[in-house]
Amino acid sequence: MGELVGDGKELVQVEHATVRFAGDSGDGMQLIGGQFADLASMTGNAICSFPDYPSDIRAPAGTLGGVSGYQLSFGDHRVTTPGDAPFVLVAMNPAALKVCLPEVQSGGIVIVNQDAFSPSDLKKAHYDANPLEDGTLDDYRLIPVPMTRLNEEATLDSGLSKVQRERCKNFLALGIALWLYDRPLQPLLEWMMKKFQRTPEVMAANAASLRAGYNFANTAELFRVSYEVARAKLPAGRYRRVTGNEALALGCLVAAQRTGRPLVYASYPITPASEVLHELARHKEFDVRVIQAEDEIAACCAALGASFAGAIGITGTSGPGLALKTEAIGLAVMTELPLVVLNVQRAGPSTGMPTKSEQADLLMSMYGRHGESPAVVLAAATAGDCFYMALEAVRLATKYMTPVLLLSDSFLANTAEPFRIPDSSTLPDLQLPSKPAADQFVPYRRDPQTLARPWVEPGTPGMEHRIGGLEKENETGHVSYDAENHRKMVALRAAKIAGIANDIPLAEVVGPESGDVLVVGWGSTYGAIAAATGEMQREGRHVSHLHLRHINPLPRNLHEIFPRFQRVLVAETNSGQLKMLLRDRFSAEFCQLNKVEGRPFLIREVRRAIQEVLSRD
């Protein structure tokens, strides 16, 4: 149902919308996407966005390899994914159109820069005919806009060079989108003021373009309707936008601050984990000591050495790097030192598809070490959760003197979502256990509660001691090859990790406490599963969602929950790794939803799987 707007156009209420901006790497799509996202958030919508830029090496302008896109989804209720399919596509050139069109909803709106469809442009995008004319777009509402020309006119007397003016084009596109979703320009203009302080003429030109786009949409009657997405009821507070990698970096930094120890982050660059390194390198005022190591082995060893010396030692990487860290993680298990290993997963095996997302390192994180070598394994569920799970990783590592592997993935790393900024005083307390007195100190004498050994760093008078990778004699920590002692130590190391189950939150069922299907997920699949189960619950289906953030150890209460559901659907973007862990420990009727395509679940894929399971027997 739509109401009449002033100038006779209709304003249609929608619950939710998905928009994608796409153009050449040089076109500034990430910038305007981010601005639209902030604006939508500031004006009260729930949002989630995902940038996808060209994989690795920069491709020539105008080619398919060079397309850079930014998709966001916003709505009047909780939005947990960037959206299955855009309703609006803004394409700055033929390549962008070609790459993105397949995902656009049929009947969706396609806004293109018609000035960028010259024969040579078309050729670069491998178009034989002009898609604006050959019927390619019949199923869509095509809105051709002479963006280049409009932008030129709008910025004519800005005093900038042609090239500089050309660069304002993206704001013209943004202006159109803002009109379409009935958004005010003011906040954006203010942001520009700040951003381009030092270059007022650039500011002016961008503002002119922005207005030009907005007004053009308004006057040229491009659209029969414009859309309104009502405010969402979000928890009150101050918000910012974060990506998963930003949140990981923030989490590590804040965690170290709360322990009162310096953070030593040792890492070797690798896609998609490098941003954590970049981010932390920028905050040395927090006594963050960043080591760019010569390789992942050195990075993990340096982090472990730092932990031995009393700092918060953290290392971050992705699959191929994790492979190289396993031996050092094993050393952390034997020496029972705190160590946090961030693994931002990417699609494998081997070098695989470095920029694509997958959850296939779970079993490696659990078992990818020789010998009986138990460690804590955690997984962040959302971009914002990366922050909290980093705190949790440091909490468990230091409290239990153990390596902790924290899993994220390429999708989480790049997804941006509004993050409710916590007041640091409300964050978990990471007080470190106090040291024993020198005359009480025995290197492997454990806290009866946690089974953790004392953390006594070099520099502490009177407690000089030696540790290493050879089996330790119980309590003394001396080297021991004794059979009985080995049995005991293997058991103690296992018991220590298992015992952590008593110190983590119980698993939560979202939806009916019992029913037909319980969808169990972990990590970045949270958004799609939450959306799919949420929808079906609203449709009255007996479908619930349980999301695991602690994988080793698992929450204590799973054995109570699983029996309450007819079937347990384990959904993960791998071939069934969590399923295997669950089957080993629980006897429920497990079904699987697996996707190994280097892409996250779509909401509809999860729905379909649940329906399929519901329709069984």
Binding site: C301, S307, G459, P461
Partner: protein, 355 residues
């Protein structure tokens, strides 16, 4: 190593008196664990000299950390009554880098072997030296894999017959000193376990140097490579086979110092001073501060039978250390921005209020 003065201060001394640096003795550095090297192993003498040296450095005992990889040599930390970390094969320099960055005030020592340091661990060794992390690296070179019972190592001589090379190796040996020099080590020295005095003085010089100190210690493996260095020092030694480097002194060696080393077209030249007294002033003069790497490279390549093997300090120059620079960046940023405040950081950038 740690700034000596900073840690001499005894006011921060704790109750247990023996932590006060002035009172430390050699015994204070013996861990009491049974030393488990083969009878006659060269490692014993190195252990003894280190335990003799540390009390003289004026560093509080709790500030010493010994880090090792895997090998006979790498058992070293277990025998030291200091903090110690027996890590994994080849990785000690990386672990030590983490330790030093976490606490630059520690005196960090790396003990490694020719296999641990120059086979599996080459990468970390080189990058540690290149970064000039302020640690002391002792490479026990017995030219064999001892712990694994006698395979050849990267420093084994060409053609050597071992368990894994029954027909003799087909690999040219690496020269540890050359590698350390190429990585632009700020302190590079060679000594030998069978000459306690020279060993001691070299270790002391290494300890006093700021930045990475790399010391190759020729060490006899009694069981799997016995006698490897007998011609250099000891009963069967041949004075023609070794030359001791002294900063600022001409390169003389041999019985009565009657031989010397000169250079022509940058190639070493043997001079017999008994027959050619005149050429004395032609002799090369050792300069461990030389900015150009040529002299050190020339000396590092000297080897019997044609030339003597050089013992002593090849290079000793001052450069800022990695850990110093790391901390100074932190301090300068704190200077600019002030101590970081977590809430400011969380609230940085574009933010907005909801509800």
């Amino acid at each position: 190593m740690t700034d000596v003065t900073s840690s001499l201060n005894c006011s921060e001394s704790t109750s247990n008196a023996d932590d006060c640096v002035r009172t430390l003795t050699r015994k204070d550095f013996q861990s009491g664990r049974e030393v488990r090297w083969c009878p006659g192993c060269g490692d014993y003498s190195i252990l003894a000299q280190i335990q003799k040296l540390l009390p003289d450095l004026g560093i509080r005992r709790e500030k010493f950390v010994f880090v090792s990889g895997i090998g006979c040599s790498s058992r070293f930390p277990y025998y030291m009554q200091t903090y110690g970390f027996h890590t994994i094969h080849g990785r000690a320099p990386a672990v030590a880098t983490g330790i030093k960055c976490a606490n630059p005030d520690l005196s960090v020592w790396v003990v490694t072997g020719d296999g641990d340091g120059l086979s599996i661990g080459t990468n970390h060794l080189i990058h540690c030296i290149r970064r000039n992390v302020d640690v002391n690296i002792l490479l026990f070179n017995n030219r064999i894999y001892g712990l694994t019972k006698g395979q050849y190592s990267p420093t084994s001589e060409f053609g050597k017959k071992t368990k894994s090379s029954p027909m003799g190796t087909i690999e040219q040996p690496l020269r540890p000193i050359q590698m350390a020099l190429a990585a632009e080590g700020t302190f590079v020295a060679r000594t030998i376990a069978t000459d306690p005095a020279h060993l001691h003085e070299t270790l002391e010089a290494a300890a006093r140097h700021r930045g990475t100190s790399f010391v190759e210690i020729l060490q006899n493996c009694r069981v799997f490579n016995d006698g490897a260095f007998d011609t250099l020092v000891g009963r069967d030694a041949d004075e023609d086979d070794r030359i001791f480097l002294r900063h600022g002194a001409p390169l003389r060696f041999g019985p009565g110092g009657h031989k010397g080393i000169a250079e022509r077209n940058l190639a070493p030249l043997l001079v017999d001073l008994e027959t050619e007294q005149a050429r004395e002033e032609e002799l090369l003069v050792h300069d461990m501060k030389a900015p150009s790497p040529a002299l050190a490279a020339l000396l590092a390549a000297l080897e019997p039978p044609h030339f003597p093997m050089a013992l002593g300090v090849f290079r000793d120059v001052e450069k800022p250390t990695y850990d110093e620079l790391l901390m100074s960046q932190i301090e300068s940023l704190i200077g600019q921005r002030g101590q970081g405040d977590v809430d400011d950081l969380l609230n940085a950038g574009t933010t907005w209020e909801v509800g």
